[in-house]
């Protein structure tokens, strides 16, 4: 028994076929969003999508279709690099931020070392003014 023509899923509508009650695509490609299946079909093909879904437990299929749709969208927008381009860009981001962190931490070390030197100097040779307060003025700054 198949779904009436009016309630065929987007996949069966696109492929112009009957939509059976147990259509594997129908839960994930509703008829009100034809573009979703169109994109996925363009990149992966209906047959591959069906095979992929059949290999997965039912609870995982929705997420799988979501990711397929996302990847298909990326590939259509960027036919050369697709999703892999985003991965590459993120890897570069990680590298850049890690470098920045390393540089900043090195600066912190320099600051701390120069701070310790000044503190030691003040401890050995405290200077006081008329008010009896320690002179905390320091014009020496360590290298950056």
């Amino acid at each position: 028994m198949s779904n009436p023509t009016s309630s065929r899923c987007a996949a069966c509508k696109y492929l112009r076929r009957r939509c059976p009650q147990d259509c594997i695509c129908s839960p994930y490609f509703p008829s009100n969003d034809p573009q979703r299946f169109a994109y996925v079909h363009k990149i992966y093909g209906a047959s591959n999508v069906g095979k992929l879904l059949q290999q997965l437990p039912e609870r995982a299929r929705f997420e799988a279709v979501e990711s397929l749709y996302y990847e298909a969208l990326c590939r259509i927008q960027d036919p050369v690099y697709g999703c892999a381009g985003i991965v590459s860009w993120l890897q570069q981001q990680i590298h850049d931020v890690e470098s920045e962190i390393a540089k900043t931490r090195a600066e912190i070390t320099v600051f701390l070392n120069s701070n310790i030197s000044i503190s030691e100097l003040n401890t050995q040779h405290p200077q006081t003014d008329d008010m009896g307060m320690e002179n905390l003025s320091n014009k020496h700054k360590g290298p950056l």
Binding site: V87, I94, D129
Partner: protein
Amino acid sequence: MGGNSPCASCKLLRRRCTKDCIFAPYFPSDDPHRFAIVHKVFGASNVSKMLQELPVHQRVDAVNSLVYEANARVRDPVYGCVGAISYLQNQVAQLQMQLAVAQAEILCIQVQQEPVIMPTSSQLAATIDGTDEKSAFLLHNNLPAQYLNFASSSNVTHESLKRESFFGHDMVS
């Protein structure tokens, strides 16, 4: 690749490998797995159409990225490449937090090291109140401990994603 030895795709598809085979430059016969995995995920027909729509000088990169995505999908049939993207985005966010903490720490140290100019006794007599200045100075030093000892955890199984560039590397283990 002409009549001598069919490319990996024509071998798998069991057809004659012509001189102008669109797959031949990108799927050499010595690496059958490369085409097999792309064919499994995308299908030869779809790959052929995608390549035909691209100028020749972009096809190498396109094929490399398709191989990468196909490998990712085989390794993770549910999330594929999107899983990697999600993981890397999380890594970027964590690292940016670490950077923010480190930069805040530098600011704090810089404030500490700024010369505190002590007024002379005559200047002190002319000023209104010095205690507000000291309070502001102390405030900058009271950073919560969690910022100074921030550490991120990382998923060991995904560490390779941070370093490995997909160009020239196959994801297949």
